[in-house]
């Protein structure tokens, strides 16, 4: 007769936490911060197709670090949830809070019930009608949820970056300054001499002023123009907001029809 090995719940949780933490720390970091015009996402990500940052809904964005297959799964589920909710009620009824809650419950369930927890950390960002209603939710592998007032740093050398960001962050930054702040913090991990160029960055914003779908990726020439040391010509925003230059919506006034 074989007896199952007994492990105390405490030890079990500790081991799972350790596994998740290690997995998350291995990757590169993501910084999400509030700026004057909305919410800014900056990730260190050399891939142009495997995104760490994504659009979820009109006013909701998603950023994640850790194991790609696992957060991709959560991203997909979030988009499905938002679209089903928006379809069965109204587009205005889709909120970041509900999504963050669902993620927290799902991650919590996976953490306690499954052999291996998800090695991910997620940030759900939502842009409100005014800066006061912008929200950042940080979700960790065990289903903990934190409402962050200013910024979220996840993955890699998160602590070093948080320290750097804490010193330089101020509220109400303009986009150009916010990007500079985020990049300076991101490149300060460990050896502080690293320089992050357009090729290593994935940048996106939730822009309060955009109608309908607020999510906009900033890449290529538009990003180069906004990077520190590119001069103050300031036409980058304009060129990036034309449809086709990014993945976000231009008009889409179907919503007005059913609003």
């Amino acid at each position: 007769m074989t007896m199952p090995f007994y492990t105390s719940p405490e030890q079990l949780m500790r081991e799972r936490s350790e596994l998740a933490r290690k997995g998350i720390a291995r990757g590169r970091s993501v910084v999400v911060l509030k700026y004057a015009g909305g919410v800014l996402f900056v990730a260190e990500n050399p891939s142009t197709t495997l995104h760490k940052i994504s659009e979820i809904y009109d006013r909701i964005g998603f950023a994640a670090v850790g194991r790609y297959s696992e957060f991709e799964n959560l991203r997909m589920a979030g988009i499905r949830m938002a679209d089903v909710k928006g379809y069965s009620y109204d587009r205005r009824d889709v909120t970041g809070r509900a999504l963050a809650n669902a993620y927290a419950q799902t991650l919590g369930a996976i953490f306690t019930e499954q052999v291996k927890p998800f090695e991910v950390e997620i940030c759900v960002g939502e842009v409100g009608s005014t800066a006061e209603f912008d929200q950042l939710y940080r979700l960790t592998y065990d289903g903990s949820i934190v409402d962050e007032p200013q910024y979220v740093v996840m993955g890699g050398q998160a602590e070093t970056i948080t320290t750097a960001l804490k010193q330089s962050f101020t509220e109400g930054l303009e986009l150009r300054d916010a990007i500079a702040t985020a990049i300076r913090a991101l490149s300060s991990d460990g050896e502080s001499s690293r320089e992050l160029g357009v090729g290593q960055l994935e940048v996106a914003v939730l822009e309060r002023s955009r109608p309908h779908r607020t999510f906009r990726r900033i890449s290529g020439a538009a990003l180069r123009e906004l990077l520190p040391g590119s001069g103050e010509s300031g036409s980058g925003e304009q060129s990036a907001s034309a449809p086709g230059g990014d993945e976000s919506g231009a008009g889409g006034d179907v919503a007005q029809g059913d609003r």
Binding site: T49, H51, S54, E55, I56, N73, L74, M76, A77, G78, I79, R80, M81, D83, V84, G86, Y87, S88, N101, A102, Y103, Q105, T106, G108, A109, I110, E113, Q114, V115, R213, A242, P243, G244, E247, G249, A250, G251, G252, D253, V254, G257, D258
Partner: protein, 282 residues
């Protein structure tokens, strides 16, 4: 093992179906995860219902794009059900759909269709190709075949700008459908659907100029709609006293799909009406 167990977290955690990798199609997902939300899934009983009908939609290409325009009237038998109904919808950055036929079913179809396009774009990170979009609409139309047999037919008209076209000047496309979901590329450069379509098409046949610029294309579309309203009671002409004007959506490369503002539509419509005071035939 299940990805999560919603039993323990009622109403909150994401149901397993949401976490299951699968199709990028919203309709497919809805059919498996929430079939009660799918439009027109129930079998139709005998008998007919009277429901509002949308009427005339025209589409025409011009140099650098394509436009879609519709009148605003919905009728129910001999009555006007709605004077200011919106029948032309922007479905994503580079496409728009106009609808004729049973209004309720058509509106639901367009709503689902635009979510479908957005859903795909968000999940995949790229937009559907123009032909992909046109085919998807055909599939949705085919799904309403039972409804069409019961007298609740819907007929959409699709207009899109093909961002992958070789010649951006000629990238505007019009796709027409039949009631069974048949899909046809309209190469003539103009088309109309709905009760007044015969008159609108005759007008466009004389007026349409593939090399026209945006403004004259808008003018031609409104003229065609006026002609349709002139001879078809179910089509509404520009209603100057109530300030109800035809709705127009233009799709071009640099601008994407944009709805013509109320002021612009008003000025074109007033112009057309004033001109017709002198020459009623246009």
């Amino acid at each position: 093992m299940e990805p999560s167990s919603p039993r323990n977290f009622p109403g909150q955690a994401l149901p397993p179906a949401y976490l299951t990798p699968g199709s990028s199609s919203f309709t497919d997902f809805l059919r498996s995860a929430a079939p009660e939300l799918m439009p027109g899934y129930s079998e139709h009983s005998e008998g007919r219902v009277e429901a509002p009908h949308g009427t005339t939609i025209v589409a025409l290409t011009f140099r650098g794009g394509v436009l879609l325009a519709g009148d605003r009237r919905a009728t129910m038998g001999n009555l006007i059900a709605q004077r200011d109904m919106e029948k032309v919808y922007v479905t994503d950055d580079y496409s728009a759909v106009g609808i004729a036929g049973t209004a309720g079913i058509a509106l639901e179809m367009v709503r689902l269709y635009s979510i479908e396009l957005e859903h795909y774009e968000k999940l995949e990170g790229v937009r559907l190709s123009l032909d992909g979009k046109a085919n998807k609409l055909a599939t949705m139309l085919r799904g309403n075949l039972q409804g069409a047999i019961a007298g609740l037919a819907v007929l959409p008209l699709f207009a899109g700008y093909d961002t992958e076209a070789d010649d951006p000047e000629r990238a505007g496309r019009i796709v027409t459908y039949d009631i069974t979901g048949g899909r046809y590329n309209e190469t003539g450069g103009y088309h109309a659907v709905g009760s007044g379509s015969v008159f609108a098409k005759s007008a466009l046949k004389k007026r349409h100029d593939p090399d026209a610029d945006l403004d004259s294309a808008i003018r031609n579309a409104v003229e065609a709609l006026y002609d349709a309203a002139d001879d078809d009671t179910a089509t509404g002409g520009p209603d100057l006293s109530r300030r109800i004007y035809p709705s127009v959506v233009t799709i071009t490369g640099p601008e994407g799909a944009v709805r013509l503002s109320e002021e612009q539509a008003a000025s074109v419509a007033e112009d057309v009406v004033n001109r017709r005071r002198e020459i009623p035939g246009g």
